[in-house]
Symmetry: C2
Subunit: 348 residues, 2 copies
């Protein structure tokens, strides 16, 4: 009798090796953070569990963040790893209430990568930096042998100056806060997967990759008391809400009927067997603000083209602690848990 073989990305929680799911933004990613990174590096900035660390340097209040980008393929409808690497990091700064100022980029190239691809990616990143109004101030390039990489990986880090008057992060979220969503979900993940699977749609679904400081600045200028912001990348809306609910020990209730998903994305998700709540976005975020300011916040967000489709999708509840509940279109309720495994590897 043949033994059953479990292979990645099954959620082997007791695995002693790195699995693809460790990079998926779900439970295994959280375990890696809890069990390996946090115990080694404990610092108040890390323990805030936010998208970037808030620090003081030379009297200035700054946010600092980093991300590695390993998206496959390197080019996809609506963008490339070049835009992602700039907007992804810029957006983590924006989610701290910080105006993005400076970026660094460290490239890991695989021997044999066409220089023309490198040039296109570099130009896309440079154009993205201009659009996001940030300056690249330092860079590095390493090359690994053929077969020891995958074309190009890049890690960017960013520094921004904090413009929010109060601390933004999971710790500031309150029962009674409303949950705002900046636009429709799922375009980035579906754009990537459509290339990988060779799917063609009537009109191609483009990644939503975009910089998000503009709507955050609009919220600040409108005087909205922002409690928390989170961009909805790896693991999508569901993982972002779960992370915050669990870090803060509150519940959240969202309404399926209020969550915008475009028709083409909904159709593609059905074909591909994906739940749009878990699909990665690269130009969408959730905002937590006091209920009394919901109207002013939505108005401010809608003034920025990137979040013209902003809507209120739910609210924060005192309990059940750490649980996100979805009221479905037909009136039933279900728990929206964090993914155990990996829905879409190498999406960003």
């Amino acid at each position: 009798m043949k033994e059953i073989q479990f292979t990645c990305p099954a959620p082997l929680v007791a695995a002693d090796c790195v699995l693809l799911a460790h990079g998926g933004g779900g439970k295994l990613t959280q375990q890696l953070i809890e069990k390996i990174f946090l115990p080694a590096f404990r610092s108040p900035a890390l323990e805030a569990r936010h998208d970037g660390g808030v620090v003081e340097a030379g009297g200035a209040r700054l946010a600092m963040t980093t991300d590695a980008y390993v998206v496959h393929p390197l080019f996809f409808p609506g963008g490339s790893i070049g835009e992602l690497a700039v907007f992804g990091t810029v957006n983590d700064l924006a989610m701290c209430g910080a105006r993005p100022l400076y970026l660094t980029a460290a490239f890991i190239l695989e021997e044999g990568l066409p220089l023309e691809a490198l040039r296109r990616i570099t130009e896309a990143a440079a154009e993205a930096a201009r659009r996001a109004n940030v300056t690249l101030v330092a860079g590095d390039t390493k090359v690994v042998d053929k077969g020891k990489g995958d074309g190009l990986f890049v890690a960017t880090a960013g520094v921004g100056s904090i413009e929010a008057p109060n601390a933004i992060g999971p710790a500031a979220v309150q029962p009674g806060d409303v949950i705002l969503l900046s636009g429709d979900l799922g375009a980035h993940g579906v754009a990537i997967l459509s290339v990988r699977e060779g799917l063609e749609f009537e009109s191609p679904i483009l990644s939503d990759t975009a910089p998000l400081w503009e709507p955050v600045e609009a919220l600040l200028r409108a005087g909205v008391e922002i409690h928390c912001l989170r961009d909805l990348t790896r693991g999508g809306l569901a993982s972002a809400l779960n992370e915050i609910a669990s870090a803060r020990g509150v519940g959240m209730r969202i309404e399926e009927a209020l969550i915008p998903v475009s028709e083409p994305v909904r159709g593609a998700c059905e074909i591909l067997g994906l739940d749009p709540l878990y699909v990665a976005n690269e130009g969408r975020f959730a905002a937590f603000v006091p209920a009394a300011q919901a109207g002013a916040a939505l108005e401010a967000m809608r003034r920025a083209p990137v979040s013209s489709g902003a809507v209120q999708i739910g609210e924060v509840t005192p309990e059940p602690a750490g649980v996100v509940t979805l009221r479905s279109r037909i009136g039933g309720s279900r728990v929206v848990d964090m993914l155990s495994g990996e829905q879409l590897p190498r999406i960003c």
Copy 2:
């Protein structure tokens, strides 16, 4: 008749693909910077051609830098990729005259990496951060499929606050400056290569990986007018001097007899066919200071254990512009050029 095949890492200057030598810190790395990165990202910080960018944020004068680490193997005598990733970035800040404050780390893990290896590397990095007195404030982890990476890559970025009163960089180097070297050359490169080649020495040669802010701070406290600092990583002393000579349009003259290389390293270099001038170090730097301050500078450097072996090895000359000349032990002179190809791939 069989056609001759040139393969990497031969210096195919007109190659249309990335070669290992593009990551070697020599001529091809410079070409990549000149032809692809600088035209796309032009900024004063990048054009200063230094180890980090100098920026202003919220009224503070900061240095910012990044490096990707792809060293193979991950563990070697005297350290691991964990220490390298911290000290390498911290040292780039120190070379800007900046006190290292904050780090970020972005890991790219290959599926199948033993979690125990990740734990050891993380702990080594955390211990290195404590030793260098920096705080890790943000991190990220991505996972790539087995066969699309090489165990673990990591990119770190750092922010430091500039404590030097004057601008430190190639532009400040003057004819008449002396060139100081902080200690003996070549231990890091030889430590790596000894593992790769399975060489055993009577007493193992340990990597010199170490943080360098302490001697820089000592120089500043002693009131030395530092013109330029450069840590001697990829491409070693020879590449560092060539980069600065060429960026500033000055000549440099160094004395072979004054350049310390330990007996074990010298012996290993002979066996391995390496020139210690080009071998990577991870805890050594060169300092350019006015001749009148050479004594004070050496005294300050020697007070820090990491640079107790500091010596003067040469001086800056008005010409020939961009050329580094070595006077050999037997009295002859030769030009020490930048490497065209790749002496030691994946050394850091």
